[in-house]
Symmetry: C2
Subunit: 255 residues, 2 copies
Amino acid sequence: LDTRIVLVRPRNPLNIAAAARAMRNFGFEDLVLVSAYEPVWQDARAAPGAKDLLRSARVVPRLLDALDDRTLVFGTSSLTRRRPAQPVFPLPQIGELLEAREEQVKRLAILFGSEKTGLSNQDLVQCHAVLRIPTEKSTPSMNLGQAVAVCCYELARHGRNISGESRAEVNESLSAVATAGELDRLSEVIDRLAGQGAESAQSSARRRSAQVRQILLRGRLSSKDVTLLLGVLRDLDWKINHGGEKRSKVPPFRF
Amino acid sequence: LDTRIVLVRPRNPLNIAAAARAMRNFGFEDLVLVSAYEPVWQDARAAPGAKDLLRSARVVPRLLDALDDRTLVFGTSSLTRRRPAQPVFPLPQIGELLEAREEQVKRLAILFGSEKTGLSNQDLVQCHAVLRIPTEKSTPSMNLGQAVAVCCYELARHGRNISGESRAEVNESLSAVATAGELDRLSEVIDRLAGQGAESAQSSARRRSAQVRQILLRGRLSSKDVTLLLGVLRDLDWKINHGGEKRSKVPPFRF
């Protein structure tokens, strides 16, 4: 049972240490921090919490580095101002959600945004679904360490921690589910072909790119599906660049 | 729906503020602190959190002052070293627990011990039951603010917060349940008559006193039951002090 907690741009060392402690309390071991400021990270390691877990935590520059091998990615949000394109589930329903996606659950990641702004729309684009912690409208925003504690408690309640029942065998028998990294590569190729990369300045292009990603995430693709689709796209690219010419052995660029 | 959060001897101002914030997040308003050091309390009010809730919180000298009007009292513990006399329930089962005690739920209190030592045995004596937050054996002790967050989340999940469905009407129709204050008074009279007050130096006497309290808490007494039992004890006391004499109008001491 492989559940990763990902803190995106955390700012407060005490919160990072508190998150690590809650993970230890409820039996989680895999912590990744995305673009944490070095001084913040240094202070977190010195703060009271779960020092061994903080020592083994990874710090990566980009969100995708934290998600590359994941087969299911959930963002967390109080969703006060936003209405994301992703399906939204109240945290207490996570049990049903995990059951419905049994084949993807094996390598799960739960993302938490920064204390000030939460997850950005760009972060949420990488998520299969958004977990809404059911807080009051008058005070929706939770402390980061407490949000991690509540989510870890709920995940442990459904056996998603190290002492939970192993569902790995069930998953092994299923065909390999596409990882976040594979789906990201596929999205990028589509964006490039359609001329609507995430780098594009136009918000309409960015929105369409995000929508395509959501379709891919919803599609529950296997690794094989991704390979097949990349082949189709390679053929399309060839045709775009060479008109009706017969295809050469070497494609114009490597996907 | 009247649920009170009680922090017993909290030491860290940041934890008090974090507890208040979690209460606000999940729709709880009634916070009482028992024998909090004045400087700690001052700092807590200045810390980021739910300032309005901290302003309206009460600080009381003794645990009973926080419980006086409560009809159901739960302590929280990771129970690593202790085996309390009280029934123990894992926190995720609180829904069933509340349903089974529907008539007592109306004025609920949840107690949290100090960061260092948790609730003492003397604190647990006041509790109808103990909620065990199901943490890992290797790292059982939770941060206070996070423990409050997890419990408030779980209580809100079962509609025990301000936005929960009102069960007050159901409760109104039931006969008035004895409060913690009434039961404490009854226990004290029994202790006094039996010469085994909580102040007694003998641990065997203290243990018996605690056992009597547990029996009373288990008994689901109404306020009327308490009045009746106090009457019986008053008669007993008279007989002890006056042998077979006819009872006078004035009892020897006021219960």
